[in-house]
C-alpha cells in the first residue's frame, strides 16, 4: 500500500520593527503587563491605525527572499472573530490582496534539492496574551497586541516530517539572514500551524485535513506530523476517515488531541479595512529594498565555494546559520587561509557546538580569539594537536590562546640543534625501529615521531623533526 503525506504549513513570524504595526508603542518583548499599550493597540473606541513603513519593508524583504511576487498596492482587511486577546473583535490582516504572492523555498534532501512552493505571505497584527491562573481567572496583557507579523502559507508540498523540519530550518535561517525577526519559537516570535492529510494512492482516497495548532518547537512539529500521519493512515486502513478538525499537540504524551470540530475559519467575515487608505508602493522603493537585500543563504553558499575554494558540503554547513557564516568569514580575513579556517570551524568548532547544542553566538569564542590561536599554527609556533588542546582550554577557561600557550610553555621546538640532540637520543634508544623502517615498514616512522613528541612533550615542530629524523636514518 502506498500512502502520500501532504503537509502545508502556516507560519507566523513576528517582525523586529522598532514600533508596533499601527501605533507608536515600542515593539519589545518582556515589559511589565499592559505598560506598552496605547489607545490604538488597546482598541479603545475612536483610535485609528496607521501603517508602519518598516513592517511593510520587512514583509517585502521576506517576499524577495522567498521568491514571491510583490504586490505594489497595500489593501488591508478586517478578519472578524471574538477572542479575549483580540482587542477590536477583528484582526487587521490581508485576505484578497496579500502583499506577497507565490514564491518557493528550496530544501536539500539526500536525493537532491526540492522546491516547496508558497501560497502567499501576508501582513497582519499580533494579539495580546492570556494567562490562565489556578484560581479560576484569566489575566490579559496587551503588550504584544499590534506587533507586526507576517503569515507565510505553503502549498501542501511537504511530504514528510523530515521535509517539514528541513523547510522550517531553512526558513528560520533565511529570515535570520535578512534580519527581519529573531525567529525564537520559545518566545513566540516564530509560530507554526500544521495542515495535514494523507492520500491512499492505490485507492485514490484522501483523509480530511487536520489542523494542528500551538506547536512551539521544531521537534513538536516533527512529532505531531509523525503522529498524525499514522493516525490518518490507520483510520483510512480501517475504512474510516478523519474529521475536518483542529487539534492540539500534547508535548508530554507526543499525541494530538481534538480542540474543536470543523474549522472555525468558516466565517471570518473579511471586510476591507477602510481606516487604512490603500497605499501604492513606488517601484523605486521596492527596487531599493531589492538592491539592499542582505546576502541569502544560497547566494552565500555559492560565493563561499567560489571565493574560498571549499567543498559544497563545507559551504552548506558554514552557511547554515548567519552567525556561523559571519564567524567563518571573519576568521578567514584574520588568518588569510580559508582552508585552515574551514577545517577548524567544520571540525573542532562544530563539534563543540553540537556537543553543547549551542549556536555560535552563545559559544565562548570569538573569531579574533580563534584567529590568534590559528596564527600560532600557521607560523609553526605550535602544532595542530597542541592547538586542539589549547582550544579546549580556551573554551573552558575563557583565557586567550597566547596566555595558555605561554603559561604552559607550548611553543614548539623548531630549533634544529635542539631537535637533533633529542632525535639522536631517540635513534639510539630504538635501533630496532630504525631497522624496521629501513626494511620498508613505514609504520615505524610514526612510532619514532611519537617518541620524539613524548620527549618534547608534544612541542617538537613535526615537519622539522620529521625531516631531521629521515635525514639521519638515511645516514646523513
Amino acid at each position: 500500500m502506498s500512502y502520500k503525506t501532504l503537509v502545508g504549513l502556516e507560519i507566523h513570524v513576528e517582525l523586529m520593527t522598532e514600533r508596533k504595526m499601527f501605533c507608536n508603542c515600542k515593539n519589545e518583548f518582556g515589559s511589565m503587563p499592559n505598560t506598552n499599550v496605547c489607545p490604538v493597540c488597546l482598541g479603545l473606541p475612536g483610535a485609528l491605525p496607521v501603517m508602519d513603513k518598516q513592517a511593510v519593508k520587512y514583509a517585502i524583504m521576506a517576499g524577495i527572499a522567498f521568491n514571491c511576487e510583490i504586490d505594489n498596492t497595500i489593501i488591508m482587511d478586517r478578519k472578524s472573530y471574538f477572542y479575549p486577546d483580540l482587542t477590536k473583535g477583528y484582526q487587521i490582516s490581508q485576505s484578497d490582496f496579500p502583499l506577497c504572492k507565490g514564491g518557493f523555498l528550496e530544501i536539500t534532501l539526500k536525493e537532491g534539492t526540492k522546491k516547496i512552493r508558497l501560497e502567499r505571505i501576508h501582513i497582519e497584527e499580533d494579539t495580546g496574551k492570556q494567562i490562565h491562573t489556578d484560581h479560576g481567572t484569566t489575566l490579559l496583557d496587551f503588550n504584544r497586541s499590534g506587533v507586526p507579523l507576517i503569515e507565510i502559507v505553503t502549498k501542501p508540498d511537504i511530504n514528510s516530517a523530515e521535509e517539514a523540519r528541513l523547510f522550517l530550518e531553512k526558513l528560520k535561517n533565511t529570515i535570520k539572514y535578512i534580519g527581519i525577526s529573531d525567529v525564537k519559537m520559545e518566545e513566540g516570535s516564530l509560530r507554526c500551524d500544521v495542515n495535514i492529510n494523507v492520500v491512499d494512492e492505490d485507492k485514490g482516497i484522501k483523509s480530511n485535513i487536520s489542523e494542528i495548532k500551538n506547536l512551539n518547537s521544531f521537534k513538536s512539529v516533527v512529532k505531531a506530523i509523525e503522529y498524525e500521519q499514522e493516525r490518518h493512515i490507520a483510520l483510512l486502513e480501517s475504512g474510516k476517515n478523519t474529521d475536518k478538525e483542529t487539534r492540539r499537540f500534547n508535548e508530554l504524551t507526543g499525541e494530538t488531541i481534538l480542540m474543536r470540530k470543523k474549522f472555525q475559519a468558516s466565517d471570518y467575515r473579511y471586510q476591507f479595512e477602510a481606516d487604512l487608505s490603500k497605499i501604492k508602493l513606488s517601484d523605486d522603493w521596492i527596487k531599493e529594498i531589492e538592491s539592499t537585500m542582505p546576502e541569502l543563504p544560497d547566494q552565500k553558499k555559492k560565493r563561499f565555494i567560489e571565493q574560498y575554494n571549499i567543498t559544497e558540503y563545507d559551504a552548506s554547513v558554514l552557511t547554515q546559520s548567519k552567525e556561523l557564516s559571519f564567524f567563518f568569514e571573519e576568521l578567514v580575513s584574520l588568518i588569510e587561509d580559508s582552508k585552515l579556517a574551514a577545517n577548524w570551524v567544520m571540525t573542532d568548532v562544530m563539534r563543540r557546538l553540537n556537543e553543547e547544542d549551542k549556536e555560535i553566538a552563545k559559544l565562548n569564542l570569538s573569531a579574533q580569539s580563534l584567529a590568534e590561536l590559528l596564527n600560532y599554527v600557521k607560523s609553526g609556533k605550535i602544532n595542530n594537536n597542541t592547538a586542539k588542546k589549547v582550544l579546549r582550554e580556551m573554551l573552558e577557561t575563557n583565557k586567550t590562546a597566547s596566555f595558555i600557550i605561554e603559561k604552559n610553555g607550548l611553543i614548539q621546538i623548531s630549533d634544529e640543534d635542539e631537535l637533533e640532540k633529542i632525535i639522536d637520543e631517540v635513534i639510539k634508544e630504538n635501533q630496532q625501529s630504525i631497522e624496521d623502517f629501513k626494511n620498508g615498514k613505514d609504520r615505524a616512522l610514526g612510532f619514532l615521531m611519537g617518541q620524539i613528541m613524548k620527549k618534547t612533550k608534544g612541542k617538537a615542530n613535526p615537519n622539522t623533526a620529521n625531516k631531521i629524523l629521515i635525514d639521519k636514518i638515511n645516514g646523513n
Binding site: 489607545p39 488597546l42 482598541g43 479603545l44 473606541p45 475612536g46 483610535a47 485609528l48 491605525p49 496607521v50 501603517m51 478586517r78 472578524s80 471574538f82 479575549p84 482587542t87 477590536k88 473583535g89 477583528y90 490579559l140 496587551f142 468558516s266 466565517d267 467575515r269 473579511y270 471586510q271 476591507f272 477602510a274 481606516d275 487604512l276 487608505s277
Partner: protein, 479 residues
C-alpha cells in the same frame, strides 16, 4: 440683554474687542443651559466648572496680548461620540455609560488649541444610529422649535444646543445625514465636510468609510468659524487628506453670479409622502439663486436610485465590525452573570446595546457572512464606485448641487421610528453625499407648518469654499 442670541462671529468680535469676556459668555450659555436643559435634554454631560476655569484662563491670555486662536473663547459643545480626555464619553449608550477616555480626539485637541471652551457633551442617537435622537440611552432630545417634535439625529443634541442657544457652536458627526438633517429640523446651519478634511482620530466610528466630523452654527459665518477650527491633515488618521485646508473667505465679496447649479432629476422621482410643501419652499429658494445670477440645470445621476440600499449595506457592514470591540473586557458594560466566554460576550453586548444598534449589527453581520458577502457587501462597494462616478461627471460642469435636506418635516416622538425602512427613506438626499465623500451643508430655507426646513448644498470633494459661497449668498439674499 441675552447675549446667547448673538451670532458666534458677533460674540467673537466683542470678545476680541474686550467688550465682553469669554467668562461672561460662557456663564451666559451655562445659565441658558440651566434654564432650558430640563426640557431640551441636548446634553448628556455638562462640564461647567472646567468650562468656566478655561474661560478665565483664556481671558487672562487675551489680557496679556498673547496670540489668540480662531475660536477666541467661544463656548462649544461636543457630540458625545468624540473622545474628551477625562470627560465622560458615552456615545449615548449604556455600553459606555461610565466611560472616561484617557485621550482626546484630534478635533478636541484642535479646539483647545484654537481657544474654544468646551461646555459639555451632547446627546445623540446611540452610537450615531438613528435620525431622531430617540435611541439615546439618556432619553431623547426635544426640538427647541417645537418641543413635541424630534430634533432630528443622530447629532440631535448638537443641533438643539445651537437652536436653544445653549452653546455658541457645536460639533457633530455625519455618516448619512446626521448633521444636515438635524440642522434642517432645528433651523440651524450644519456642515458635513469632505471625507478626509477633518480628522476622525478619537471619533467613535459608526461607519468608518462614511463618517465625518462637522459643525453647527446659527448662521453660515458661525459654521465657518467652527469648521475652520477643526480642519486639517492628521498623521494619526490614515484617511485624512494632506490637502485638508479651508481657505480664508471674504464673505462681504461673495456673489452668486455665474454659479452653476445642478438639480438631479432622480430626486424629483423620489417622492416621499407629505413632502409637497417642502418642495414649494425649495422652489422659492431656487428662485433666490436665479434672481442673483446663478444658472440652474437638470442633470441625471442614474445610480442615485440605489444610494440608500448601498448606504445601508456598507454602513451596517462597517457598524458590525466597528462595534465588535465592545465586548465588556477592557472597558464598557460587562454583564455580571457569565460562566462561559460566549456568555461574557453575549450578555454584555445584549445588555449594553439598544435595539437599533443591535439591528444594524445584525444586518451588517448578515451582509458580510459567507454566501451573502458577494451579493451584498461586494456589490454595494461596486455601486459606490458607480455613484461616485455619477457625481464626478456632474461636478466637471457644475459648481454645486441643490436639493432639500430632508423630504419630511420634524416628526412627533415615537412616530416614524417603528418603521425602520421609512426612517431610512428620510435620508434619501443626504446619504449619497457620504457615499461619494463629498461636502454638503444644510441652511435654513423657510418653514412649513411652523417647522423649519433646510436647503442642502452639495459640492465636490474639498470644494467647501463653494458651499460657503452658495450658502452665504443665499442666506444674505433670502433675508
Amino acid at each position: 440683554m441675552d447675549i446667547t442670541n448673538l451670532k458666534s462671529w458677533e460674540l467673537r468680535d466683542k470678545i476680541l474687542n474686550k467688550e465682553i469676556s469669554s467668562y461672561e459668555v460662557t456663564e451666559a450659555f451655562l445659565e441658558k443651559i440651566d434654564e432650558v436643559e430640563d426640557e431640551i435634554n441636548a446634553f448628556i454631560t455638562i462640564d461647567a466648572d472646567r468650562a468656566l476655569e478655561k474661560a478665565k484662563q483664556f481671558d487672562q491670555k487675551l489680557m496679556e496680548g498673547e496670540e489668540i486662536g480662531i475660536l477666541a473663547g467661544l463656548p462649544i459643545a461636543i457630540k458625545d461620540n468624540i473622545m474628551t480626555r477625562n470627560l465622560r464619553t458615552t456615545c449615548a449608550s449604556k455600553m459606555l455609560e461610565k466611560y472616561i477616555p484617557p485621550y482626546n480626539a484630534t478635533v478636541v485637541e484642535k479646539i483647545t488649541r484654537e481657544d474654544g471652551i468646551i461646555l459639555g457633551k451632547t446627546n445623540m442617537d446611540e452610537f450615531a444610529m438613528g435620525g431622531s435622537t430617540e435611541t439615546s440611552y439618556f432619553g431623547p432630545t426635544r426640538n427647541p422649535k417645537n418641543k413635541s417634535f424630534v430634533p432630528g439625529g443622530s447629532s440631535g443634541g448638537s443641533a438643539a444646543a445651537i437652536a436653544a442657544q445653549e452653546s455658541a457652536l457645536s460639533l457633530g458627526t455625519d455618516t448619512g445625514g446626521s448633521i444636515r438633517q438635524p440642522a434642517s429640523y432645528c433651523g440651524v446651519v450644519g456642515i458635513k465636510p469632505t471625507y478626509g478634511l477633518v480628522s476622525r482620530y478619537g471619533v467613535v466610528p459608526m461607519s468608518n468609510s462614511l463618517d465625518q466630523v462637522g459643525v453647527f452654527g446659527k448662521d453660515v459665518k458661525d459654521a465657518y468659524i467652527a469648521l475652520k477650527s477643526i480642519v486639517g491633515y492628521d498623521p494619526l488618521d490614515a484617511t485624512s487628506s494632506k490637502k485638508a485646508k479651508l481657505e480664508d473667505i471674504k464673505f462681504e465679496e461673495i456673489s452668486l453670479k455665474g454659479l452653476k447649479i445642478a438639480l438631479p432629476k432622480e430626486y424629483d422621482e423620489l417622492r416621499v409622502e407629505g413632502d409637497q410643501e417642502i418642495r414649494e419652499v425649495f422652489k422659492k429658494s431656487l428662485k433666490v439663486f436665479e434672481d442673483n445670477g446663478a444658472t440652474i440645470e437638470y442633470v441625471s445621476l442614474p445610480y442615485l436610485k440605489y444610494a440608500l440600499e448601498t448606504y445601508y449595506l456598507i454602513s451596517t457592514a462597517e457598524v458590525s465590525t466597528n462595534l465588535s470591540r465592545f465586548d465588556g473586557i477592557r472597558y464598557g458594560h460587562r454583564a455580571l452573570d457569565y460562566n462561559t466566554l460566549d456568555e461574557l460576550y453575549i450578555n454584555s453586548r445584549t445588555e449594553g446595546f439598544g435595539e437599533e444598534t443591535k439591528r444594524r449589527i445584525m444586518m451588517g453581520t448578515y451582509a458580510l457572512s459567507q454566501g451573502y458577502k458577494d451579493e451584498h457587501y461586494k456589490k454595494a462597494l461596486k455601486l459606490r464606485t458607480l455613484i461616485k462616478n455619477d457625481y464626478d461627471r456632474v461636478f466637471r460642469n457644475f459648481d454645486i448641487i441643490l436639493s432639500i435636506t430632508s423630504p419630511i418635516l420634524p416628526f412627533p416622538f415615537d412616530s416614524v421610528i417603528n418603521s425602520p425602512v421609512d426612517m431610512y427613506k428620510a435620508d434619501t438626499y443626504t446619504v449619497p453625499v457620504n457615499l461619494a465623500g463629498l461636502c454638503a451643508m444644510s441652511v435654513p430655507m423657510g418653514e412649513v407648518d411652523g417647522l423649519p426646513v433646510g436647503l442642502q448644498i452639495t459640492a465636490n470633494r474639498f470644494e467647501e469654499k463653494k458651499l460657503f459661497t452658495a450658502a452665504y449668498g443665499f442666506e444674505r439674499s433670502a433675508k
